[in-house]
Amino acid sequence: MSAGTPKSLPSSGQKSIQEVCHPLSAEEPVLPPSPDGGSTTTTKDLSLPNGNAVDTSSPASSSSLLNRLQLDDDLDGETRDLFVTVDDPKKHVSTMETYITYRVSTKTTRTEFDLPEYSVRRRYQDFDWLRNKLEDSQPTHLIPPLPEKFVMKGVVDRFSEEFVETRRKALDKFLKRVADHPVLSFNEHFNVFLSAKDLNKRQGLALLSKMGESVKYVTGGYKLRLRPVEFAAMGDYLDVFTQKLGTIDRIAQRIIKEQSEYLVELREYGPVYSSWASSEEEALQEPLDGVAGCVANCCSALEEQTEDMSEDFLPVLREYILYIESMKNVLKKRDQVQAEYEAKLEAVAFREDKKTPVPTDVEKCQDRVECFNADLKADWDRWQNNKRQDFRQLLTGMADKNIQYYEKCLAAWESLIPLLQDKQEAKVETN
């Protein structure tokens, strides 16, 4: 923080990180100050002074601690202890409505779960519920996006294979991203989502309210004096990135459109060769029919490639655009938290006469800011890494599809050549 911001008041004393409640929890556990003035950045064991193990499944737990302890990007299966899959879509028809459910399968060795395996059925609105809960209970974290909720009836068939499959992939990705997150994966709501037989009943319960459903932010219109450089950089990056993604989406759509129009013409082109062949004698008839066949093969190859672009490429792009939207909101929230802290700090600074200890609510604000910043930074790094992998996969996939398209066409045309040339040579010989 640069000049202009009020100097932060000294804290009331070093507390070990276990004793610090999550700034967003409603609860205020009273804990004695730690005997040692150890730095909050290191800790030896995860236990409260009273000997109880830290309840890591609560949202109020030491998130930043876990972030630092956990190996980032533990991609090797050995360290992963939670596997989630979404598959097997099924249509349900009732008197009231028709909808699709998906099977959510879980395999885990985590003690937070009662069983090592689960298999439940969930519908889109259940995923939506989960995401909202995650956003509410983990506001300092970047929550992965869901595929779009609303689809225009009449424009898109909600029950078509392609739509359902695209959605399934996106939902699968969503749960996997949550499962891979060192904090979000321990979220109680996530646990319930994966394990409860009937989610509807659970949704209503205020089961977790005791654990500290977070308070909705009072966006009291606090004005932020200066955004820290790194968060400003994040915001700038997201702005440019979302713009570029939008452009890429438009280009991809345009390509799909051009390819579709090309396909229309190709579909007319091939048959002309066939009709020509019918008025020719054998010498020309076979080559002409051969060309017609090649063009037909190219048509189906192109059709496949265009479908893949629509079904695999575009949805992932759009998902990221949604992701970035929600990330920008998190950044805004962070700004708000900081602004609130700065405002309160300033208000206190004027009361020079009173030699009262630092008010706890200001301290709380400071902790809030620090925790938020830490969470966000860690999540940002993780997000950047995942983004890199996702786009590497997406773009190599796109290149692959194009290679496959050309390979199919190549095979078709190459198979025609020997057919034509043999006849040519044979004819010359007989002459």
Binding site: K244, E258, R392
Partner: protein
């Protein structure tokens, strides 16, 4: 299917245009005296192999000229340089400079019209199109466009080579002069008097008449010509649309190049991979220009045969005309013979105005009848001579024309097959290029 020719003129054997052949031109005694005279006047001194075997021919260059035209207006036109060189001179290793002269497109047209009229039984090779048609891109519709001019130069050369390798046409004197005589060639052409024939030919080709007994083969051939014309036109039209769309697909990919470059500016590790991939996308977008330029050659090959169908139809129509004239002559003879019979026997078999008037106004005098009979006899004699002539003409035409049609059919099958093969090769090359570019891009992406 070779024609079995019985009469006393030499068989024209159909072989490859540039293959060896023992061909004698029409030195045929069954020709009408006038036609024979014509041919002798216009055939070269040397009979035997086609001109192409003895002479190298090329249309080497094209140039723009400006000058005053017939109505004294300034005009810009293109001239083409025709170069010729005797084959034996080159083979001796002397390699002398070729002879050359400049010709306009209109002179080529004149030559072709002359050939059409003089050799009505030949499927005369077509000229390249005067105006660009079936264009896939609006740019190349311009006649002055260098690409169009270049393709036309190639087409004109092709025309000359086709004529020079034709068993009949290559021996024509006027054709030889076209290649070698710079001055006053036009005058020489007009001196042949072909213009007069040209007009009547045109009239006949466009006239509607019904033939009772056409040669089935010609009727089939005419039908085939119509079908071929229709299908090649359609093919060229759709191909142009396909080319247009393909252009669009490739060019849009160029936009990836720009956005990847912009995106790479905000990335750290991903930046290089994105940037290089972007370059490949630019290369991909640019590659379509060459691809489509090459495909124009294929379109030109198809166009040549599209225009050939007109010449084919003309030969079939000429046969119809001959046949029609024969039938008319025969019909006329029959009616005259009938009249004679009626006059001789006094019976009226069929309704005729004369019959009616004679009934109304009474019989003629024996002297009148005698006079009439004599006239009729002469007319019948002439008529029979006419029928014989027409018959011979028809037979002659059928034989010659069918020989050339057979030659044309084999040439067409060969050429179009080659065209299809080269088209397939073009497609293969395009696919390989596509695989290359996307593989390069994929490598860049994988390094992101």
């Amino acid at each position: 299917m070779k024609c079995a020719c019985a009469t006393n003129y030499n068989t024209v054997r159909m072989m490859a245009d540039t293959g060896s052949e023992e061909i004698a031109v029409i030195g045929n005694t069954d020709l009408t005296p006038s036609e024979l005279e014509n041919n002798i006047k216009n055939t070269m001194v040397e009979k035997g192999t086609t001109l192409l075997k003895r002479m190298e021919i090329s249309v080497a260059e094209a140039e723009k000229r400006t000058g005053k035209n017939a109505v004294s207006m300034q005009e810009t036109y293109t001239v083409y340089l025709i170069e010729t060189r005797a084959v034996d001179a080159a083979s001796e290793g002397a390699n002398p400079a070729p002879d050359s002269l400049w010709r306009r497109y209109s002179e080529f047209e004149l030559l072709r019209n002359y050939l059409l009229v003089t050799y009505p039984f030949v499927v005369v090779p077509p000229l390249p199109e005067k105006r660009a048609e079936f264009v896939w891109h609006k740019l190349s519709a311009d006649n002055m466009d260098p690409d169009f001019v270049e393709r036309r130069r190639v087409g004109l050369e092709n025309f000359l080579l086709r004529v020079a390798s034709h068993p009949v046409l290559s021996n024509d004197n006027i054709f030889y002069s076209f290649l070698t005589q710079e001055q006053s060639w036009k005058e020489v052409v007009f001196e042949t008097g072909f213009q007069a024939k040209a007009d009547s030919r045109l009239k006949a080709l466009n006239a509607t008449f019904r033939v009772k007994n056409p040669d089935k083969r010609f009727a089939e051939m005419k039908h085939y010509g119509d079908e071929l014309q229709s299908v090649i036109s359609q093919l060229l039209r759709v191909r142009a649309r396909v080319a247009d769309r393909l252009y669009g697909v490739y060019k849009v990919h160029g936009n990836y190049g720009r956005v990847f470059s912009e995106w790479s500016a905000i990335e750290k590790e991903m930046g290089d991979g994105l940037q290089s991939a972007g370059h490949h996308m630019d290369a991909y977008a640019a590659s379509v220009d060459d691809i489509l330029e090459e495909e124009e050659h294929y379109a030109d090959q198809l166009k040549e045969y599209l225009f050939y169908t007109e010449a084919l139809r003309a030969v079939c129509r000429k046969h119809e005309l001959c046949q029609f004239e024969l039938e008319m002559a025969a019909q006329d003879l029959t009616s005259k013979k009938q009249q004679r019979e009626e006059l001789a026997t006094g019976t009226v078999r069929t309704f005729s105005l004369k019959g009616m008037t004679s009934k109304l106004f009474g019989q003629e005098t024996p002297e009148q009848r005698e006079a009439k009979l004599k006239t009729l006899e002469t007319q019948i004699e002439d008529g029979e001579e006419m029928v014989k002539e027409k018959n011979a003409e028809c037979e002659e035409f059928v034989k010659n024309a069918w020989v050339d049609i057979e030659r044309f059919k084999e040439q067409k099958d060969r050429d179009l097959k080659e065209a299809l093969i080269s088209y397939a090769i073009m497609q293969i090359s395009m696919c390989k290029k596509g695989i290359q570019v996307w593989s390069n891009a994929k490598e860049c992406f994988s390094k992101m």
